[in-house]
Every structure is written in C-alpha cells, then in structure tokens.
C-alpha cells in the first residue's frame, strides 16, 4: 500500500477515535445530568449494590454526578485525547521511517551510501534483540520501533522537531503547537502530580501555560472541546501535508541539499 494511503488510514483511525471520545464525553455528561436532575427533584432514584445491599441515596447522587462529570469524566476524556495525539504523531513517524528508513540518520547520504560529515546518529538497541531478528527488514523494523519508543518519552516539541527535520509539512503553526504542548503538559501534570501545577508544567507549557504554580488543573468543558477541535484540525492538516509529501514522486531529501519542501512534480 502506498505511504500516502497508510497515512490517510492512520489519520482516519485517529479521527474516528477523536469523534468517538467526544461523543462518549457528551453522552456520558448528559446521562449524568439526567440522574442529577432526578436526584434533585427527589425522585426515588437509587442504585443498589447487590453484594453489599448498599443503597445510594438520591441526594448523594446529585453531588456525585457533579464530580463525575466535571472531574472524572472530563479528566479521563482529556487523558484519552492526549494519548490520541501521541498515537497520531508517533504513528506518522513510524510510517514515514518504515517507508524511508534512511531518514533515521539525517547524516546518511543515500546517493553515496556514506555519511555526511563526522556526526553520527545513534540508536541504541540491545544486541540480543538484534540477534533475535532474522533479516535486514526485521532489523530495520526493530530500529524504527526503538526510535519511536525513545521519542515516546520526549516532549511534543521534540516530536515536531523530529518531523520537521524529515518532512517539511508546514504545519501545525506556532500557535497550535504551543496549545498542544500545554495540553500534553496538563496531561502529564494530572498523571504524575495529582493535577497540582508545578515547574515541570510551566516549563513544558511555555507561553501557552494556563495556570500558576500551585493551582489545580481544571478540565472545563470549553477547554476540552477546544482540545478536540485542535487535535482534529492538526491531524487533518498534517495528514494532508504528509500525504502530499509522500505522493507519487514527491520524495525529496530535506537534509543535506534541502529542497523547498514542495513536492517534485511527477
């Protein structure tokens, strides 16, 4: 399958999951709001745990619904979104390197089979892993997985630098990137610091930081919806640009004698 089809397939998969996550959030909130109203009206709503025979009083459900909607549901949806961003960016890098493994080493000149200059790109992979792989394409696959795995632990700005140095997509723009960095920083803060804003968040979020040190992350609905839209827009734009960059005969080396980034006419 051509690379452009693979990229479109990956983008479609991610976009489907973005839409599904959005629908799940909206429908779950609506369902909980319904329960909240029933409880507020004093309707005989109750959930009985068959094992403990414990009955959740309706009054309790009203405040629980508020917490479930604005904290648990919003935060878990937000975490999912952050994972989808990772799946898209790293998935795109994986597809690109699979098609053009020489791009793992920007100093490699495919025309001569030699490296340019003295600088060497290094990918560390355990020898036992290499010995286990049988042929060159399996070894390349192992190397690509290693590169992608290493990038997983890097910040999104590093992901974009990696992409920029290999594909000149021209997107996302600086404002969108800053918002994505903030989004990932907020996710990391929820995941690793109980949502309390620390210096790590401020460093990662940079100019798009939304909080001061010591604040608590709040995933309010307008922000969450903005993140859905952002991720969708970025995925669509990048997929389109990457599809063009990988088109019928658009292959160009960006490193060494860099091109303008425009595809070569067929």
């Amino acid at each position: 399958m051509p690379l452009s089809d693979d990229i479109r397939g990956l983008a479609d998969q991610v976009l489907d999951r973005v839409d599904e996550a959005r629908e799940f959030y909206v429908h779950s909130r609506q369902a909980w709001r319904l329960v909240q109203q029933l409880a507020r009206k004093g309707r005989p709503v109750g959930i009985v745990d068959l094992a403990t025979k414990r009955h959740l009083p309706a009054g309790d459900l009203e405040s629980r619904a508020q917490k479930y909607v604005t904290v648990q549901l919003a935060e878990s949806t937000f975490r999912d979104l952050s994972s989808l961003l990772e799946d898209w960016i790293l998935g795109l890098i994986r597809l690109w390197l699979t098609a053009y493994p020489e791009d793992m080493d920007l100093n490699f000149d495919p025309a001569t089979g030699q490296r340019r200059g003295k600088k060497q790109e290094e990918v560390q992979i355990p020898l036992s892993r290499l010995l286990h792989l049988r042929d060159c394409s399996a070894i390349l696959g192992g190397l690509i997985e290693r590169v992608v795995r290493d990038l997983t632990y890097e910040r999104p700005d590093r992901w974009f630098r990696y992409i920029d140095s290999r594909l000149s997509l021209g997107c996302p723009g600086a404002t969108q990137r800053a918002k994505l960095y903030e989004m990932k920083a907020a996710r990391d803060c929820l995941e690793h610091n109980r949502g309390v804003i620390n210096r790590d968040y401020l460093n990662k979020a940079g100019t798009a930081a939304r909080y001061a040190e010591g604040d608590l992350v709040q995933i309010d609905e307008p922000y969450l919806m903005e993140c859905f839209t952002l991720l969708r827009d970025v995925t669509v734009a990048m997929a389109r640009a990457a599809g063009i960059a990988s088109g019928p005969k658009p292959r160009r080396r960006l490193h060494g004698g860099r091109s303008s980034g425009k595809p070569t006419p067929p």
């Binding site: 909206v26 909130r29 609506q30 709001r33 319904l34 909240q36 109203q37 029933l38 507020r40 009206k41 009203e62 405040s63 629980r64 508020q66 917490k67 909607v69 604005t70 904290v71 604040d215 608590l216 709040q218 309010d220 609905e221 307008p222 919806m225």
Partner: protein, 80 residues
Amino acid sequence: MIDEMTKDGLRVSTDGIAGPYLMVPVAQLDAVLAVLDRHKVRYWVDADAISLDNEPAITVINFGRSGQAARIQAILDEAG
C-alpha cells in the same frame, strides 16, 4: 434571584472536589450570567440542557474548583 420554576431562591450547590455549581432553567440563563459577569465570576456552562417530564429545560453553570460558593450565593441573593 428566584428560580422561576420552583419559585425558591436560586441555590448554589457544592461538591468538595468539583467545586460549586448552579442548576438553572434555560429561560433564566442569560439573566444569571449577566449578574455573574458583572461580578467577574468565572464559570462555564454545559453545552446543553435537560428537560424532564416536559418541564422547562435545566442547564448547569459550573464554577470549578476555585469557585467560591458563599460569594456566588451572596451575589445571587443580592441580585434579588
């Protein structure tokens, strides 16, 4: 402010973790938001509203974790 459905005063509810919130009939939403805006209260509103038994639809104004329930309640009470 009076809840036009129940004829009781609008009541700010609280949850220790989620912060305060206010359930309000959609017909009154603009008036309530105008009062909150005047006092620079931060909030966000659910994107939709739920109607039960064909009664007027209710939506939720969320004040978030940093919302101050007592202050907001006082603002609404004062607004009459």
